[in-house]
C-alpha cells in the first residue's frame, strides 16, 4: 500500500442552529442519508457512495461553525505513532473513547495553531446505504438531490496559517499542494495527505477556529449545474458560482446551509502525487487562483465565516 499513516478526511462535526432544517438540507438537498441519531442528539450522515459509518456530524448549538475535523488513518497503530509525533512537536493530545461517535473506534485529538480541533482515528464500522463490492453498479441506491458522492474537504480560517503549515508538514506528513503568499507572508495553504489536490485548507483570518466551508464531491461539471438548479428551486442562500478555482482546478459553487455554514459542491481537481512541487500564487493573481473565471475575490470570500 502506497498511502500510509493519515489517509483522508473522514468526518467533520459542525454546529447547526436548527436541527430539523439542517437534516432536511443535508439529506434532501445535498443528497446524503441519515445513518442514526445519537443519545446526545447529534445526527450522523453519509453519502450512499461512502462505505464508512458516517462522514458528517451535526450538533445542535447556539452558534454555527465547526467542532472538529476528523482524519482516518490506515491502521490503529498509526494513532500511537501520531500521538508521539504531535506530542514531540509540542502540542497536547487527548483521547476520545471508541463509540463516542457511533460506529467509530478510538480517536486522538489536538488543537492546531489556527485554533481548530483535529482528530485522528483508524476504525470505522460500515453502514447502509453503501456501495456493493461484488459486481457493483455505479450506484446501489439511486442518487438524489445534488448527489454528493462524499465529504471531500474543509476550508478553515484562523490567524496562524504559517504555524499550521509547519505542523501539518512536520508532525502529520501532509504536503502543501498550493499556497498563496502575500507581501507579509503566507496567506493560504492547500494541504494534502493523499492524491487529491487538497484534503484540508487554511486561510489567514484574525479570529481563530472559524469555518469557511465544508465541501462535497460531485461527479462532474454537469452535476454542478444540476446542483445550481437545486439551489434556486429551493431558495438556498448562494455565495458564488458555478465557477472554477484556479487553485486545485476544481469546479465549484459556494452556498450556505440553513445555519449559515458555507458549503461547497466540488468536482474535478487534479491528481496529486508526492513528487509534485508546490504551486504558488502571489498577491497579483490571487483573484484568479480563488475564482478562475471572475478573476477577483468576491466580498464574502475573506469576510463571511461561521
Amino acid at each position: 500500500m502506497a498511502i500510509t499513516g493519515i489517509m483522508r478526511p473522514g468526518f467533520i462535526q459542525i454546529r447547526v442552529l436548527d436541527m430539523p432544517a439542517a437534516i432536511e438540507f443535508y439529506t434532501k438537498r445535498i443528497g446524503l442519508h441519515q445513518v442514526t441519531e445519537g443519545p446526545d442528539g447529534r445526527v450522523y450522515l453519509k453519502s450512499a457512495d461512502e462505505f464508512d459509518h458516517h462522514s458528517i456530524v451535526l450538533r445542535r448549538a447556539d452558534s454555527a461553525g465547526v467542532d472538529a475535523a476528523g482524519f482516518k488513518c490506515v491502521k490503529d497503530s498509526d494513532l500511537d505513532h501520531y500521538e508521539k509525533r504531535v506530542t514531540d512537536y509540542g502540542f497536547a493530545v487527548d483521547h476520545v473513547k471508541a463509540g463516542e461517535q457511533p460506529g467509530l473506534g478510538r480517536r486522538i485529538g489536538f488543537t492546531i495553531p489556527t485554533g481548530h480541533r483535529i482528530e485522528l482515528y483508524a476504525e470505522s464500522e460500515q453502514s447502509d446505504p453503501k456501495p456493493r463490492t461484488h459486481n457493483p453498479d455505479v450506484w446501489e441506491l439511486e442518487p438524489h438531490g445534488m448527489a454528493a458522492r462524499r465529504f471531500d474537504h474543509s476550508l478553515l480560517y484562523g490567524p496562524d496559517v504559517q504555524g499550521n503549515l509547519d505542523f501539518f508538514e512536520k508532525a502529520l506528513d501532509f504536503r502543501c499542494a498550493e499556497r498563496v503568499d502575500m507581501p507579509d507572508g503566507v496567506f493560504a495553504i492547500w494541504m494534502t495527505c493523499g492524491m487529491k489536490a487538497h484534503d484540508i485548507a487554511f486561510v489567514k483570518y484574525p479570529e481563530p477556529n472559524k469555518l469557511h466551508h465544508v465541501a462535497f464531491e460531485l461527479e462532474n461539471w454537469q452535476s454542478i449545474g444540476h446542483a445550481a438548479d437545486i439551489l434556486t428551486r429551493y431558495d438556498i442562500s448562494i455565495d458564488l458560482g458555478p465557477t472554477r478555482h484556479g487553485i486545485t482546478r476544481g469546479q465549484t459553487i459556494y452556498f450556505f446551509d440553513p445555519s449559515g455554514n458555507r458549503c461547497e459542491t466540488f468536482a474535478g481537481g487534479y491528481t496529486y502525487y508526492p513528487d509534485i512541487p508546490t504551486r504558488t500564487w502571489d498577491e497579483t493573481q490571487v483573484g484568479k487562483g480563488i475564482f478562475y473565471y471572475e478573476r477577483q475575490l468576491n466580498d464574502a470570500f475573506l469576510s463571511v465565516v461561521s
Binding site: L17, S63, G65, D257, D299
Partner: protein, 117 residues
C-alpha cells in the same frame, strides 16, 4: 390571499417593500438591485443570509417582527432583546425602521476584509 406588504426603512439609505414571511435582508437586497437604497457605505452587507456569519447586523429602531435562530457568536441574547439582530433572521409584522450596525466592513477592492467597528 396575497401576503401582507410592509415597508422597511433603512435609516439614511431608503425604503423597501417587504412581505409577510420574507427575510428582511432579502427585501433589502431586492431594493438594492432596484437602486432604491442610496448612500450605502459600499454595498448592503450580505453574508450567509442564514444567521451564521453576522455580517447583516441591524438595530431595529421601531416596528414589530418575528425572528428565527441566529448564531450567538454574532448576536448575544442581550443584543437580540435590545433589537440588535441579523436582518436575515427577522420577518416583519409591521413597518420597520432599521439602522445598519454591521460588525465588519465588507471588503472593497484593495482593502482589508475585516476591520473593527
Amino acid at each position: 390571499m396575497a401576503p401582507q406588504r410592509f415597508q422597511v426603512t433603512l435609516e439614511g439609505h431608503g425604503q423597501a417593500n417587504v412581505y409577510e414571511g420574507e427575510r428582511v435582508l432579502v427585501a433589502l437586497e431586492r431594493a438594492q438591485g432596484f437602486g432604491q437604497l442610496k448612500n450605502l457605505p459600499r454595498r448592503l452587507p450580505v453574508g450567509c443570509r442564514r444567521g451564521g456569519c453576522g455580517v447583516c447586523r441591524v438595530r431595529v429602531l421601531a416596528g414589530a417582527y418575528d425572528s428565527g435562530p441566529m448564531s450567538r457568536s454574532c448576536v448575544s441574547a442581550e443584543d437580540e432583546a435590545a433589537g440588535l439582530v441579523l436582518a436575515c433572521c427577522i420577518y416583519p409584522r409591521s413597518d420597520l425602521f432599521l439602522r445598519l450596525e454591521t460588525p465588519v466592513v465588507v471588503k472593497a477592492k484593495g482593502e482589508r476584509a475585516l476591520q473593527p467597528v
